[in-house]
Amino acid sequence: MNLSFFDQFMSPSLLGIPLILISLLFPTLLFPSPDNRWITNRISTLQLWFFQLITKQLMTPLNKKGHKWALILLSLMVLLLTINLLGLLPYTFTPTTQLSMNLALAFPLWLATLLTGLRNQPSIALGHLLPEGTPTPLIPALILIETTSLLIRPLALGVRLTANLTAGHLLIQLISTASTVLLPIMPAVSLLTTIILLLLTILEVAVAMIQAYVFVLLLSLYLQENI
C-alpha cells in the first residue's frame, strides 16, 4: 500500500518559492476593491451584496461593542471560504489543510476574545465557568470540566477545520484512484464509483462552505460571551 496519498498535502515549491504563498495571495485577486462609481461592474455588486449578507448574519447577535470585530470576522470568513473552495479545483493546494495555519488562525483570535472578557468584565467571564442551577456537590468538578472545555476551544477550532478538509481531499483522491484503476477491469463498477465521486464532490463543496462559516460563527459566539 503506497503512502503517496498524503503527498498532496506537502507544500510544493518551485525554484524555492512555495506554492502556499501564491495560494494565500490569490484570493485577493478575486475580490476587487470597488471604484468610486455609482454603478460598478457585476462582480463588485455581487461582492457587496454577499458581504452585507455575511456581516448582517454575524453581527446581529452582538452588542455595539462587538461590532468593532466586524472587519476581522468578515475578512476571515471570506478568506476561509475562498481558500476552501479554491482547493477543490484540480492541482491546487489548500493552505487550510495544514494544521499549523489553522491553529495560527484560531489561537490568537480565541485568546483575544478571552482577554477582552477577562479585562473588561472579569467576573462575568469567569462566571461562565459555572452554569446556573448546578447542585452544590457538583460545583468543583463542573468548574474543572468547564475550564478544560474553555482551554480546548482553539485546538478544537483548528483541528475541526483541518480534519474536515483533509478527510475530504483524501476521500476524493482515493475514490478517483479507485475508479481510474477499475476502468479497464470492470467498467460498470468504475461508472458507479464515478457517480459516487460526483456526489462526494458536491458534498465537499458544501463542507468547504460550512466549515468556513462554523469557524467564524464559533469565534463570534466566544466573543458574545466575553464582550
Binding site: 518551485l14 478575486l30 479545483l89 484540480p90 493546494f93 481510474t180
Partner: protein
C-alpha cells in the same frame, strides 16, 4: 513611440531582446509590471458593463495551470497506475 514605452503585445518578435534590455528588472519594476498587467486584464475582462462568468473563469483556469506547473516535478515521478 520609443521601444521601451510600448507594451509587450505590440513589440515585434525581432525586437524582443532590445525591449527586454530596456525593462527595469528591480523588485519595484517587476511589481509595477505585474500591477499593470493585472489592471489591463481587469479592465478588459472583468470591469465591463455586462460581464459574465468568463473573466473570473479564465483567472481560475490560469490558477489551475499555474498549480499544475508548480507540481509537475512531483507527479511526473509517480508511476502509471494502469500498468500491472
Amino acid at each position: 513611440g520609443p521601444l521601451s514605452e510600448r507594451p509587450l503585445l505590440e513589440v515585434r518578435l525581432g525586437e524582443l531582446h532590445t525591449w527586454i534590455s530596456t525593462c527595469h528588472f528591480s523588485a519595484q519594476g517587476l511589481l509595477g509590471a505585474a500591477q499593470k498587467a493585472w489592471n489591463s486584464y481587469y479592465a478588459k475582462y472583468i470591469n465591463v458593463r455586462r460581464g459574465g462568468p468568463a473573466g473570473i473563469s479564465m483567472l481560475l483556469a490560469g490558477y489551475c495551470l499555474l498549480s499544475y506547473s508548480w507540481n509537475y516535478q512531483h507527479f511526473s515521478k509517480i508511476s502509471c497506475l494502469g500498468s500491472h
